[in-house]
Symmetry: C2
Subunit: 371 residues, 2 copies
């Protein structure tokens, strides 16, 4: 399913073959939380060269629900997206959005954040739901260990997640769909290594590094990724969940990560921020009032080939909804072009130079146009 | 500038040649109030076969203002729309949105609805602003006589509007841009005839029928259009401002109208309503929960060729912004296809049959799917 094509230092260039198509890695996956990558349509995601998008099982399970998704024939048909989809297990949202009632060996009972309806999510149920969705890659149910957590708490939590992972693997019924395990263990290297060993013992189609981006310092994230990288199988894909900025992505690749997802390009777009080859732009700023240049002169997206910063700034101040989609489209295109540049650099053996350039661009105060 | 190609009863099939291109009439003009047809981008308007769009001078004058619009080289360049644009004079919004301070022979002094800044709009200034915008068609400054108005009030108001119309014509400096007069006179046939005579005496490139859709009964609108139609020149275009529903459009064409504009397709789209070949649809309704059909099986738009009613309903209930653009895109496409069908019917001599079918579809309770 995964072919390692080239490497440059720890950075890896690979190819992932999934039920709905091939994904060139390293890759960024735009997030389609409730069945749409916010403000955008599938046609735009194709033009932006999205290869795989993410859906949130928790949200989709609650609304529209399995009756509607089944009637459509699965998530792909429902949202009219014919390329690969990865779904998470729903666990993360239960802990962050839902009201968790009880966490037990059996699973997690929770109340919907929408209307308070009570549900029980077990490892088996998480797999069953995602198989109904028909996601090309589905994630095991795990507990995202909070940060900070002492060693005992992190170990107890990780060990239960590993037992849940085994139950997820056992309940898998659709061989054409891939299933990824999730490494837990908090900030503790020995727990992370134990978690990887447990998951490898079960055997998955890929491995995610979970429990990061939950408030811990950046150096801890880096250390955990390095520790996991040393023991994860080289011939399978590695996914860093919920990360991150353009700099986070290339730093992750430098540590051997193949897959990323984050709401940042669309959320920042809706909040009036654009990522560009010259740094970050806050479109409402007065400096763009008469600026006839595109957001990013190097970007091939519709926004950049059609509209000026002056016009986008006007739309923002006039509260015109269209600016949210124009900025989101640009940001998603920017993220995907960024990953293309990373893939090209790994293939060409110039990754180290690209990493150096990107560090200079994105470090605070270094972007030419940073707000 | 205007060529009458065919007629069928009072309905007219024509062609309008403007600075930025040719417009086939009868035509509907999507409204781009502050420089964007709400939620949509120029590419979508091209695909929907929009031939001409409308901009609101009052809104554009206040925000982004003439400095920004001039820096871009005019409204076309600013909004990246290379086909014709019609702008109103700003008068209607001063009376409806702004705070009118004083109406005098000289013009209208008002305070911005955005920040209270005071301005004076005169007929000369209205033309000057619209010539800076570079609209293919600009409208004279007039007073939209309120309804109801007694004969003396309607006459006094109309007569001043006619003096303003003459000043507008005199202050016109760009011969390549068309200027339309606006007929006023309230509900009084003799005043409407006097207004048409005054405007014809001045001589314009086209004529709008103003002061309608301001609360009067539908039969008054119809009578006023008929009275004006009898005395307006046959060889120039006739524009019914701010109208209307799909049925209003074809009824207007039946009385000799060539041009229409209305916020209805985009506003209704943002409010969750779609116009279809089977009637109106309220997308949130439970009946569409599992409905795998497109909004309108006869529609060629992206929304209808890509998504199901079930998915659109889900997006609505999940508060996903993208549904507003998907419904707006459909509605604008529907309106423009409707006008294409009307033009085809006039050309083929089958307009009376189309009018009968449309009356059956749109009369209350007659649409198959009317909510």
């Amino acid at each position: 399913m995964f072919t390692l094509l080239a490497s440059d230092g720890h950075a890896r260039r690979g190819r992932l073959t999934l039920a709905h198509g091939v994904v060139e890695t390293p890759i960024f996956m735009p997030v389609g939380t409730v069945g749409s990558v916010k403000t955008l349509v599938p046609q735009e995601l194709h033009t932006a060269k999205a290869q795989i998008i993410l859906g949130n099982t928790y949200h989709l399970f609650l609304r529209p629900g399995l009756e509607v998704l089944s009637a459509a024939g699965g998530l792909h048909q429902f949202i009219a997206w014919d390329k690969p989809i990865l779904t998470d297990s729903g666990g993360f949202q239960i802990f962050s959005l839902g009201k968790l009632n009880k966490l037990s060996e059996e699973g997690a009972s929770f109340a919907s954040h929408l209307d308070g309806t009570k549900f029980m999510l077990t490892p088996e149920k998480a797999v069953q739901i995602q198989e109904i969705l028909g996601s090309d890659i589905h994630m095991v149910l795990d507990e995202c260990t909070p940060w900070p957590a002492d060693e005992k708490t992190a170990r107890t939590s990780m060990e239960r997640s590993m037992r849940w992972a085994a139950r997820c693997r056992q309940s898998k019924t659709r061989p054409e769909l891939a299933q990824f395990g999730i490494v837990q263990g908090g900030e503790y290297p020995h727990l992370r290594r134990a978690s990887v060993a447990a998951l490898r013992e079960i055997g998955f189609d890929g491995y995610a590094i979970g429990g990061l981006s939950v408030g811990e310092p950046k150096n801890i994230m880096g250390e955990v990724i390095e520790v996991c990288g040393e023991v994860l199988p080289r011939d399978q894909p590695r996914y860093l969940m919920g990360v991150g900025t353009p700099l986070d992505l290339i730093e992750g690749v430098a540590k051997g990560i193949d897959m990323f997802d984050c709401v940042m390009p669309t959320r920042n777009g809706r909040n009036g921020t654009a990522f560009t080859s010259q740094g970050k732009i806050t479109i409402k700023n007065a400096q763009f009032k008469l600026d006839q240049d595109p957001l990013d002169p190097l970007c091939p997206c519709y926004t950049c080939t059609t509209h000026s910063r002056s016009y986008l700034r006007h739309l923002w101040h006039a509260n015109e909804l269209v600016v949210q989609r124009l900025l989101s489209l640009h940001n998603v295109t920017f993220y995907l072009s960024h990953m293309q540049a990373i893939r090209d650099a790994i293939g060409a053996g110039t990754f180290a130079r690209l990493l150096k350039e990107q560090r200079a661009l994105w470090e605070p105060g270094k972007g030419k146009l940073q707000a």
